[in-house]
């Protein structure tokens, strides 16, 4: 005989304003099997939980229904409370009368009716619940960080510091990411590489960190605590452990027309190259699309001049297979393609550059040795116009609807640096809004405008074109409400940033959810900002949303602490709500195996006693450690042999009947 208790939460006014909780309680009391029902202002509070615990003991309840918020919010809370009172935690059902009812309805009568229906369904289900016991799974004490920019490096350093092994997989030939390309950093104007390279060196030197550069994640299997990852290490045609980084090969390489990616294509590099002076590892790589030897079989100069004998033209891609307990996504960003915004003439005028290109022009190791020169003719510019929000806050469909967050600050930085170094240069900035929240950020922008006389113009630019050997910028000044036409020698576009294109691919492999802009979704936007909803996957840096360096480093540390918390555990509790196959009903058709996204189903042929008839059959077997309880197999099974514990076909049908009747 079942003895069910129903507990209806007001959630302050969140539920009670739209649902007549007393009516739901009254209705619950007359449901078959229900022996106790009560409402309370905050069921999740300690007092609320005590009501549940006391009722379980006093009324010898065999199952309970809590009508409250989403189970994602407090299912764990109520399960714990039930367990504390001696009830199996899987005898608890949640009727979501907040997100699924009160929050989305306005009419109290209709809301109450819906809440009643949801309550009845949950009661019908809990009548069929059976006690379940959670199992355990192992935790591999090693973490994988995907992406070797400042986010990935910081996360890896923090994990390594706690004593755990961590691998960084970086798709480029060196770690360092976008931060390595920056000249100065706001708001303190310290040199970017001066603060980044010690961290790169530390990552290289750490005993607990393994750098896998020029490599990409190829396949991911397994689950939290026990991921199995296949990594493709691309052939760099240079033996990493032999190359001394002397650079002689670069000097001799006759194929010098490759675009220098590190300098945003503003100058060229040879086919064999080290991306930049402080690269880690400081090892050359051959661009196979550009190498004469690899394409025609002739040349081989680099091999001849290499005293270390590090060149190997026969090198093939290698695969590394490794197990990890946790995976951190730190795939970073790239600026959007400015040529989509041709009103700014980026694709036709050389003197229209992006902000990242300007970083390289301003950098002492850049294409102009740090001297501000016009790309078209190498002359000193006398007037520079900055255009902010190029593709940001753009709902036309060409750009991104979000604010890229970093552009206001780096534009103020560029403007200030130019005015500081070249006081003869006029600097104008077109902006929609100047957004500078952050410690010492607004002071920084004010300094640019007030002390350095940067001319800030509120308004957008409609067109940039070339005339009589210089650029003409036509925009609007919204404060004077006039059209502004400025002559400029250079125009700098603060292009929006977007997730690196590899993010989507990696997220798919990790089954980590992504939003419409390809940013990785957090488990909770406020309360779990560094975790993916997929257990064991963590987020670090811009892959989660636009952010600057200080924020990235904070988030990287937060992600690391979450990883450390996971790796500290020896065992993880597994979800007992997994699939189960009834071998007497299974016809061995393989439908379930084909749909299982986790590879949890295999087949076994053995002797079966089917009501006295003994015969050898091929039947499905579920690996409970791999099964994530998604239920795909139960839907596809034609003979009804597959069932999901905690969500059995019978239970679901009972809910449907309770709703429909």
């Amino acid at each position: 005989m079942r003895r069910i208790g129903v507990f209806v939460c007001w959630c302050g006014s969140n539920i009670a304003a739209t649902v007549d909780v007393a009516a739901v309680v009254a209705d619950a009391k007359v449901q078959p099997g229900v022996v106790f029902a009560q409402d309370y202002q905050y069921m999740c509070s300690e007092a609320g939980q005590n009501i549940i615990k006391d009722a379980i003991k006093e009324h010898q309840l065999t199952g309970i229904v809590v009508c409250s918020c989403s189970p994602r919010m407090h299912e764990a809370t109520f399960r714990k409370a039930a367990a504390a009172a001696g009830l199996n935690p899987y005898m608890v059902e949640i009727a979501n009368v907040r997100e699924h009812c009160s929050w989305i309805h306005k009419d109290k009568e209709a809301g109450t009716e819906k809440a009643r229906v949801l309550m009845r369904a949950a009661v019908a289900k809990v009548m069929l619940n059976v006690p379940l016991k959670a199992g355990e799974s192992r935790v591999v004490k090693r973490a994988l960080v995907i992406g070797g920019g400042i986010a990935g490096i910081q996360t890896a350093l923090d994990i390594a510091d706690a004593g755990f092994q961590v691998d960084i997989v970086e798709k480029n030939a060196t770690i360092g990411g976008r931060m390595a390309q920056l000249d100065k950093t706001f708001p303190t104007l310290d040199c970017s590489s001066c603060i980044l390279t010690p961290k790169m060196v530390e990552a290289k030197a750490s005993e607990n960190i393994r750098l896998i550069t020029y490599a990409e994640v190829e396949e991911v299997g397994g689950f939290v605590g026990d991921f199995k990852v296949k990594i493709r290490k691309k052939a760099r045609f240079v033996k990493e452990d032999v190359c001394t980084g002397c650079g002689l090969c670069m000097a001799k390489c006759p194929s010098k027309k490759g675009l220098n990616e590190f300098n945003m294509g503003l100058n060229n590099r040879p086919a064999i190259y080290i991306p930049f002076a402080q690269a880690i590892p400081n090892v050359a790589v051959i661009d196979k699309t550009q190498c004469i030897k690899l394409n025609t079989g002739k040349c081989g100069l680099c091999e001849k001049v290499c005293t270390a004998k590090a060149i190997d033209y026969t090198m093939q891609d290698e695969f590394i297979e490794e197990e990890y307990g946790a995976i951190v996504m730190a795939t970073g960003f790239r600026p959007i393609d400015a040529s989509k915004f041709d009103e700014y003439s980026y694709s036709t005028c050389k003197d229209v550059v992006t902000s990242l290109e300007l970083e390289r022009i301003m950098n002492a190791a850049g294409p102009t040795g740090g001297v501000l020169l016009r790309p078209s003719d190498g002359k000193h510019p006398h007037s520079v116009v900055f255009v902010q929000c190029v593709g940001s806050r753009d709902v036309s469909g060409r750009g991104k609807p979000y604010c890229s967050k970093i552009c206001c600050m780096y534009t103020a930085k560029h403007a200030m640096l130019i005015r500081d170094k070249y006081p003869d240069v006029d600097v104008h900035v077109f902006y929609i809004d100047v957004r500078t929240p952050g410690k010492n950020f607004d002071e920084f922008y004010r300094r640019a405008a007030e002390q350095y006389d940067v001319d800030y113009i509120k308004g957008q630019v409609g067109k940039v074109w070339e005339e009589d050997g210089h650029l003409v910028v036509r925009g609007v000044d919204l404060i004077s409400n006039e059209q502004v036409i400025l002559n400029a020698d250079m125009v700098v576009l603060a292009t929006a940033i977007e997730p690196d294109p590899t993010a989507r691919k990696v997220a798919n492999m990790l089954t980590a959810s992504i939003d419409t802009n390809d940013f990785i979704t957090e488990a909770h936007p406020k309360l779990r900002p560094v975790e993916s909803p997929t257990a064991g996957i963590f987020l670090s840096g811009v892959c989660q949303g636009p952010k600057d360096i200080p924020e990235t480093v904070s988030q990287a540390g937060a992600a690391a602490s979450k990883v450390i918390g996971l790796l500290c555990k020896d065992k993880l509790t597994t979800n007992p709500c997994v699939a189960r196959s009834d071998e007497l009903l299974c016809n061995g058709c393989s439908c379930c195996e084909k749909v299982c996204p986790y590879g949890a189903i295999s087949y076994d042929t053995h002797l079966i006693n089917d009501h006295g008839v003994k015969e050898t059959r091929r039947v499905a077997l579920v690996n409970e450690a791999l099964c994530q309880g998604c239920g795909a197999c139960t839907v596809v099974c034609p003979s009804g042999a597959m069932d999901l514990k905690g969500f059995s076909n019978k239970q679901i049908m009972a809910e449907v009947e309770a709703i429909c009747l």
Partner: protein, 284 residues
């Protein structure tokens, strides 16, 4: 292929050249343009007021006429093309406009934006094909450096007009190339000539036109072509005379070897801007 042809008022009066040479060339290329019966002024300006229905009705009538013939509706005038395309888009996507227009007109078969509106240039590109056109050219315009002047009406709003990239259009350049001439790409080719503002402020139009012509010349253009009678009016009126300006159809006529065109300025262009916008006589 036979198209329902909507010439529009201006092409019957002040922009006869655009119409005449357009028809001649279409014939030579094996394309039939059948003028729809009893067409009325397209409205000349697309009404941007959301609940304005009356001024959309004549465009709907033209669109329905083409639908009833089972044909695509072809136009040459940029302004007519603009109005017809946008009204058609409203009829296709806005249930409110659709219901009101149908209630008013009470057609036998209600209209819901089924007609495809095609500009002459799109017909040349998509139906004839610029490669085929290039082969039909008997008098290649070798050595001539020609700038395409798009103006606003063909390109924007870009999602509705779906004509070409509004910031970097190429269709007229490809057309010029097919005729054997050298297209000159210049920044001001998609800028406004002043349009109707010319009625109120000649100074503004003059400024715009001079900026356009200067920019075209600086990029090496020796002549300009356009598909818009109003652009033509402004360009000729406020240009410095040194830049030859022709309709696309005039250039095409010449390249196809059908004959020589009249010298500009002698024919239809010598009217008021209102005549250029709408030859039926907004202004007498």
């Amino acid at each position: 292929m036979t198209y329902s042809y909507y010439p529009g008022c201006t092409l019957k009066t002040k922009a006869k050249d655009l119409d005449f040479y357009g028809r001649e060339c279409a014939r030579a290329l094996g394309v039939e343009l059948e003028e729809i019966e009893e067409w009325q002024c397209c409205g000349a300006v697309y009404p941007v007021v959301r609940d304005e229905i009356a001024t959309k009705l004549s465009a709907v009538r033209a669109l329905m006429a083409a639908r009833d013939e089972g044909r695509e509706l072809l136009t040459l005038c940029s302004a007519c093309h603009h109005v017809l395309t946008r009204v058609n888009h409203d009829m296709l996507t806005d249930p409110d406009v659709r219901a009101k227009a149908n209630n008013y007109l009470k057609p036998q078969v209600p209209y819901a934006g089924e007609t495809k509106v095609v500009h002459y240039l799109q017909m040349l590109r998509d139906e004839v094909g610029f490669d085929v056109l290039a082969k039909a050219v008997k008098n290649p315009l070798k050595g001539r450096k020609i700038g395409a002047y798009y103006g606003c009406l063909l390109l924007r709003p870009s999602k509705v007009m779906a004509f070409d990239d509004p910031e970097d259009p190429r269709i007229i350049e490809d057309f010029i190339k097919a005729l054997g001439a050298t297209p000159v790409v210049y920044a001001m080719r998609n800028e406004c000539c002043g349009g109707y503002v010319t009625l109120k402020s000649e100074e503004q139009s003059r400024e715009n036109v001079q900026r356009i012509i200067k920019n075209a010349r600086n990029h090496g253009a020796e002549e300009l072509i356009t598909a818009c009678p109003l652009c033509m009016y402004n360009l000729r009126k406020f240009g410095d005379g040194g830049m030859r300006i022709e309709y696309i159809t005039e250039l095409l006529y010449e390249a196809l070897g059908l004959g020589s065109v009249q010298e500009p300025g002698t024919g239809a262009d010598a009217g008021t801007p209102a005549d250029a916008v709408c030859g039926a006589g907004l202004k007498s």
